[in-house]
Amino acid sequence: MTVSKPEIAAPNPLAKFLPGHEELSVTTAADGFTEITADRSRVIEVLRALRDRPELDCNLLLDVCGVDYPENERRFEVVYHLTSLDKGHRVRVRVPVDEDDPRVPTAYGIWKAADWFERETWDLMGIRFDGHPNLRRILTHEAFQGHALRKDYDPEKRWVLTEAETFVPDWVTEPDDEDQFETQIINIGPSHPATHGTLRIVARLDGEVITRAECEIGYLHRCFEKMSETHGWNEVIPYTDRLNYCSSMINGVGYALGVEQMLGIEAPPRAQVVRVILSEFSRIMDHAVCLGATLVDVGALTNFWYFFQPREEIYTLLESCAGGRLTVSYARIGGLAHEVPADFEEQVRYLLGYIPKFVDDVDKLVTTNSIFRGRTEGVGALSAEEALAWGWTGPCLRACGVPYDLRRARPYLGYENYEFDVPVASTGDCYARYLVRMEEMRQSLRIIEQAINNLPDGPVITDDHHVALPPKPKVYSEMESLIWHFKLIYDGIKVPAGSAYSATEGANGELGYYLVSDGTGKPYRIKVRPPCFAIFQAYSHMLEGHLVPDAIAILSSLNIIAGELDR
C-alpha cells in the first residue's frame, strides 16, 4: 500500500511559506489537510517553519503516530498532525522511514506535546526519536518485547510481567542534595483512593511537598488499535464505546463521522440531530462524573450523589434508544442503529427540566464555598502558552483563556445552526476548570433544547446498502436485500483506500481519529488522538512545589479517563 494519493491537484496556498518548498511535496488532501511529505533530514526545519512563520502559525501539535506499510520500499511512516488556532488551517506532515534504520529527529524541542506521542510511537511501532529526553515504553509494560502495532506482531502474543520487573525511575536512587535523608519516595497509585482510574505517580516528597514527580500510564492499555485491525469497520464501534466510557456516544459518533467522510456519504438529517442530542447528554454525563469525582477527592461527598441522579435518568433515555446503559453502541456508519423510541421527545423534555435542578444544587453548595475555593484556587495553574505547547484542548484549555472549541472552530453535525456560548476562564487553575465545566453543562442543555425543537423527520440511516444493513422486513422477503446483508456481514464495508483525520469535540477536548484504509473490509490502521493523553503529559511538570492533596485535586480536575488515555 502506498502513501495516499492526493485527490485535488490545485497547488496548496501554504506551500510558498515553507523553506525549500520546491523540493517538498505539498498537496491538499481529501479531508482538507495540507499534506507535506518530507524526508527526515528536512523534517525539523519544516516543523519549525510551521510553528514560527506567522502565515503558518501552527501552535498546536495534535498527534504524532506511526503507520506500518510492510509492502512499501520504505516501511514506516511517521505522521504529524498540526493545527493553527488562529488561522484555522490543518497540516499533516508525513515522514517515510526505512525499516533498517527507523530513526527520526524529535519534535520535543519545538512542541512539548510531542513528548508522550513520540514515546508511544517508539513503544508500539519501534521508531526511535533522536534527542527525546525520555524515550521509554509508555503503554506496554517493562517486560514486553517487540513492537505491538507492527503488522508482523501476533495480536494475541502476551508477555508476563512479574512484580520484580516493575518500572522504577532512575532519579529515585540518586541523591537529591546533601540532606536527602529528608526526602521520601512514594507511589501514588495505580490502586489509589482517588476515583480516577489506574495511573501511577512516583513522587519525591520533602515533608508533604512534592519536589519531583513522574507519571506512569498504560495500566489499561487494551490494545484498541490492534483490535480494530482484526475487526470490520462496524465491529469497531463497541470498542470505541469503551474509550471514554463516561461519554460513550461521543466516541462512536466521532468514529462514524470519520468513516463517513472517507466514504463520501452523510448521515440523514434526523440522524445528525439525534446524534447531537445524545452527544450533548453524554457530555453532561461526563462532566457530572468528573465534577462528582473531583468533589469526592477534595472531601465533598454529597455532590457525587447529587450528580449521579441525573446520570441515572440519562441512562434511562440511552437505554430506551439503544438497549445499553453505559456502552450504547448506538452509532453506525451511515447514521444510527435504529429509530429512536416513540417517547423520545417526551423523555428529552423531562430531562431538560430535571437536570438543571441538580446542577443548581451543586452550584449552591460548592461554588462560593470558602473551603473549596481555598483548595482549588491557584492550584495547578497553567498559562495559555504552556497549555498550547503541551497540546491541551477542551475545557482545560478553555479554563486557561483560549476559546478553542471544535464545535465552533470546525463545525460538524450541524453545530453551526445552534446558538450557544463557549465558556472561558482566565486563571487556568482547578477552580477555573470546575467553573468551565459547570457552565458547559448549562450550555449543552441549551443546545439540546434547540435541537429537540427542530427534530426533522426521515430515516435514521443512509439507504446506501454498500454501507448500511438493509431494513429487516426487506431482508426477510427480498432476495436483493438478503444479498446486501450477507455481503455486508461477511465482507464488511469497503472503504476506499486512503487516509483521513476527523476530529470532534469530546468531553475532554479534541478527540481525533486518524483512519487509514487499504480498500478491504477491515481498517488498516486507526490512531485515536485522545485528549487526556496530551493533557496528562503536563501533569508531572505541574506537580512540582505542590502538596500531595493538591496533586489529587489537580488530577481529578484534569478529568483523566484511563480508557481514553491508554486505549
Binding site: T140, Y153, S191, G218, R242, Y245
Partner: protein, 161 residues
Amino acid sequence: MRQPDGSSALLTTKLAAMLAWARKNSLWPLPFGTACCAIEFMSTVSSHYDLARFGAEVVRFSPRQSDMMIVAGTITDKMAPVVKRIYDQMAEPKYVVSMGACACTGGFYRAYHVVQGVDEFIPVDVYVPGCPPTPEALMEGIFKLQELIQSGETQYDRLKA
C-alpha cells in the same frame, strides 16, 4: 471443630453459622475499578441502587479494611502484579467478585496486553457477566456471594479446608 466421627459439635456449627451470617451482611467492598465497570459500580453505590442497604456501607479503597474485592474492569498484564499484591494484602476471610466480561474472561479483548480473566492468578468466587453488568446484576452477584458464605462454599473456605 470436628468430632471423631466427622460431624461438627453443635456449638461450633452454630458459631460458624453465626459468623457466616455476620460476615455476609457486612461485606465491605474494595472496588478494584479500572474501567467502565467501575462507573457501573459507582452507580450501584449511588442513590438509585444503594448497595449500602446490604451492608456494603464502607467502600474502602484500602485492602486492609475490606473483605470483598470487586474486580471491575479490564486487568492488563501491567496491572496484574498490582492486583495480586492487593489481593495478598487483604486480611482473611476474603472474597472476590469478578464483575464484567473483561475481568471474567478478557471479554472481547483477545489482545497482547490483556489478562484473559482475573482467575489466572487469584481465586474468584462469583462471576458477573455483562458489559458492563447492570447494577441489579452486580447486586445479584453479591447475593450469590452471601449464599456461598452462608453455606461455606467460597474459595476461601475451600482453601482453608
